[in-house]
């Protein structure tokens, strides 16, 4: 008996559809990606169970790096940069720093402010891409009496008169507590009693009160 002939089928699969999917996903990811901005002051933030996303407008951020150096920066939007100019102008007039308009705009363009008040003129001369947390000394904050951050926070209070800035503190894991206390002092002296600390999200441990609270709300 002759076996019926089974037609040989090609094993090749049409890759076009898969290719389409791949490139569709690719274009989606390219368009939605927001690259991590290369930070001038590298800071490794601690974890917390806080679930609120950090605000992005009206931001005044104090960075505390691993050596306890303190840097001040604002958000990147136009409004925030304008506020930064106002902050610098306010500090300039209160402390008689004698900064020219060109120097002020150079400082506004800078990613952060990270020198003692007396050296601001020098910082204005450094090209933006050479400004790093490593090379600059940070805002001069030694103890509660020698604390230039108090002057900066007064500038912030002036610039945001009537409005509430979103004060963010971004501290490094290994920064020591005295630096943190000095920042808090500066906030408190200018009657900023509410601020937020930037952290990485972390899941709530099972069985704790907050965990039960979260379950009930769901």
């Amino acid at each position: 008996m002759a076996r019926p002939k089974i037609p040989r089928k090609s094993t090749s699969v049409d890759m076009t559809a898969m290719c389409d999917v791949a490139f569709l996903l690719l274009s989606f990811f390219i368009l939605t990606t927001k690259f991590k901005p290369s930070e001038a002051v590298p800071v490794t933030t601690p974890n917390s169970v806080a679930a609120k996303v950090a605000p992005e407008t009206n931001v005044v951020m104090i960075s505390l790096n691993k050596d306890g150096k303190i840097f001040l920066s604002t958000g990147d939007s136009k409004g925030d940069k304008d506020k930064k100019a106002e902050i610098i102008k306010s500090v300039n007039s209160h402390k008689n720093l004698g900064l020219s308009d060109a120097e002020i705009s150079a400082l506004v363009r800078a990613p952060f402010i990270g020198t003692p008040l007396a050296q601001l003129k020098q910082q204005a001369r450094i090209p933006v891409d050479q400004m790093t947390g490593e090379s600059l000394p940070g805002i001069y904050v030694k103890d509660s009496t020698n604390n230039e951050l108090i002057d900066w926070m007064r500038g912030v209070a002036d610039a945001y008169s009537g409005m509430k800035p979103n004060l963010l503190l971004k501290g490094d894991n290994v920064a020591k507590y005295p630096a943190f206390r000095n920042v808090i002092d500066a906030f408190r002296k200018n009657e900023f009693f509410k601020f937020q600390m930037v952290t990485n999200p972390e899941s709530v441990p099972m069985g704790t009160d907050l965990f039960r609270l979260g379950r009930r709300e769901e």
């Binding site: 040989r8 090609s10 094993t11 090749s12 890759m15 076009t16 898969m18 290719c19 791949a22 490139f23 996903l25 690719l26 990811f29 390219i30 939605t32 990606t33 927001k34 690259f35 991590k36 933030t45 601690p46 974890n47 917390s48 169970v49 806080a50 609120k52 996303v53 950090a54 605000p55 505390l64 963010l168 501290g171 490094d172 894991n173 290994v174 920064a175 020591k176 507590y177 005295p178 630096a179 943190f180 906030f187 408190r188 009657e191 009693f193 509410k194 601020f195 937020q196 600390m197 930037v198 952290t199 990485n200 999200p201 709530v204 441990p205 704790t208 009160d209 907050l210 965990f211 609270l213």
Partner: protein
């Protein structure tokens, strides 16, 4: 690659004198392109910042407030947590005894049980936790302990500077030999 030759060995029967122009397939092997596509996708997935940073709120007390307006903490409801170097945690309940008898050592893993225990055994209205980091503790320790307040839903807590007496006990427990604090009311712990 994905294409397999299934034409059966290539022995085409050709009649004598039959000349066929070789037909080229118009199909292109898309496999490498798919590979490239997925490689790029993986790259973008990994470089994307998936987790937005979150923010933790802290409300500071106004230290200019008049003492009579401040609410006094009941001694029985107070738990003081002290933070030292190398992630060391110390605590005591109520007020610190002059000889440091109620000064206990713990760590970040076990402090939660202590907080839960304190929360369950005290009246909610009286419960207040005082956090005192010393100069050797890190920012991370402070955040961790504040986080612990959030985790255990502690409504009243305060971040306060450490007193010389407490710092003395803390350093002593950590194995240092600190000079006794200026207000020498401390009775040395007998060993």
């Amino acid at each position: 690659m994905a294409e397999m030759d299934t034409s059966g060995g290539g022995h085409h029967k050709k009649g004598p004198g039959v000349k066929k122009g070789k037909k080229l397939s118009t199909r292109v092997d898309l496999t490498p392109m798919v590979d490239l596509g997925f490689l790029l996708i993986t790259f973008f997935i990994f470089t994307t910042t998936m987790s937005q940073p979150t923010a933790m709120k802290l409300i500071l007390p106004d230290n200019k407030a008049k003492p009579e307006e401040q609410n006094k903490a009941k001694e029985s409801g107070a738990l003081t947590i002290l933070l030292g170097k190398d992630n060391n945690v110390f605590y005591y309940e109520g007020t610190l005894q002059p000889n440091g008898a109620n000064f206990k050592t713990t760590n970040f893993k076990e402090i939660r049980d202590e907080i839960i225990h304190k929360k369950q055994t005290t009246d909610t209205a009286d419960l207040v936790i005082v956090l005192k980091p010393n100069d050797e503790s890190t920012y991370r320790n402070v955040i961790d302990i504040l986080d612990e307040m959030a985790i255990n839903v502690i409504k009243r807590y305060a971040l306060v500077d450490i007193s010389p007496e407490e710092d003395y006990f803390l350093r002593k427990t950590e194995g240092e030999n600190p000079p006794p604090p200026a207000s020498a009311t401390i009775v040395p712990v007998s060993k």
